[in-house]
Symmetry: C2
Subunit: 259 residues, 2 copies
């Protein structure tokens, strides 16, 4: 690939059609027919990549569109009057952001790039119109929102009942799974965010994060060098996180269709 040339983005978007996007089975086009994907393509705007720290939108901005991460990563966060920041989520390629703004037509939180990040913009009113025409798109949109509700509730549970160790284990496995689904290694990855962001998201102090990582390494569960993470004992982490480890925990096949 040649260097980024801003004037080329509209042209190149012809090639970056959803149909050819490696993420289309993770993203909104999932389970759409080719013809439908073309229609979706027509409303997608592919924007100039964001640099690390740049904002996609800020809390209080008018809501115009929802966004899909194409490459890189985002964090979303709210800021209180007193200036404290609460990270509400990390968003990897194939994931949508901005869904929380549909209700009020104002973004209740900010989104900023954790690294150089490409974004697909989906103007919401056009997306609504299209969803009326394409039942499977409407369904997919509802599914993704439902998924987010479910994920938030799992997170709530974690914050209410889980220890710091358990929360970190959950988060690591979440990243592991999300990297894995994209075909990357699920045991070796580079976290795009600072320890303090991770801690903030989990409701923990950065110092606590540091101690947790040390303890996890002492226990032989992972190897960490800065943001470079290698998971060494996923079953141990899975047990900590309260989830079932794959088939290791079998013996009791509760309701066989787990996930």
């Amino acid at each position: 690939m040649s260097g980024p040339d801003l004037s080329d983005f509209r042209v190149s978007s012809l090639r970056q059609a959803c149909a050819h996007c490696s993420l289309n089975q993770l993203c909104l086009p999932m389970s759409l027919s080719e013809a439908d994907i073309e229609q979706l393509d027509a409303i997608v705007e592919r924007k100039r990549p964001l640099q690390r720290g740049e904002h996609l939108y800020r809390g209080g901005d008018d809501f115009q569109a929802i966004y899909a991460v194409r490459s890189g990563s985002l964090k979303t966060f709210t800021t209180t009057e007193s200036g404290e920041e609460q990270v509400t989520g990390f968003h990897l390629p194939g994931e949508l952001v901005g869904l929380d703004a549909i209700n009020s037509w104002v973004h209740p939180c900010s989104a900023s790039a954790l690294e150089t990040t490409s974004i697909c913009e989906l103007p919401f009113e056009q997306l609504e119109d299209l969803a009326s025409d394409i039942p499977s798109l409407q369904r997919q949109l509802l599914r993704l929102m439902s998924k987010e509700i479910f994920a938030d509730q799992e997170m709530l549970f974690a914050m209410a009942r889980r220890s710091a160790e358990e929360r970190l284990a959950m988060l690591l496995l979440s990243f592991s799974e999300r990297f894995g689904r994209r075909g990357l290694s699920s045991t070796r990855f580079r976290l795009p965010m600072a320890r303090s962001d991770l801690g903030n998201y989990l409701g923990l102090a950065p110092e606590t994060m540091s101690r947790l990582f040390r303890r996890f390494q002492e226990n032989g569960w992972l190897q960490a060098e800065g943001r470079e993470i290698q998971l060494l004992d996923q079953p141990a982490l899975a047990e900590l996180s309260g989830r079932q480890a794959r088939e290791d925990v079998d013996s009791k096949q509760l309701s066989d269709g787990t996930d």
Copy 2:
């Protein structure tokens, strides 16, 4: 008096049309035309009321429909393998439940009645079809889901950063507002759930709830007799909760001593 006759419910549903429901401006019909409301009515099934403790659905059940509370109240909760319960929400008249099941077509949590509770059932596939035909219904559905995402994120923030006192203040004000919107008193109401449910939802032990209520009363913020609550100082609660109280806040004549 005519006792409850189950065979009557279909008949009586003719009179319980959304168009005449006092909640229709809080619920799914909000901003629908009369004709559209009629169409919605046609798919709504009004079921036999649930008794206290009865389940509307259980975690693991197949997802068929989403539900609106018509009267009474529900709690939704997850249960872990080890039997611990996590309350994920309380649902008052006009509010929807079951949205978290759309993604997987399985209810990830259970819903049970906190008191005698009437429910409107909205078969999801029919609702989807209808939403394709009625753009404002689609929009309303997306809005309600978006609202839930936002609410969950606020809750996450509370769990991550707020003290027990602040969380309780938030919850009390949330109930206050939700009662108020239905035309009931926003300062005097009866909580339909046990302290332990409240505490569970907030990530706090029942003992802590007890101590909090005592402290709130000592501070003159409220009067509580069991589940009967009277809010005496909403501005103080609002300040605690981190929200802006109306315009009283800057001239804070409210705090006279305790800190």
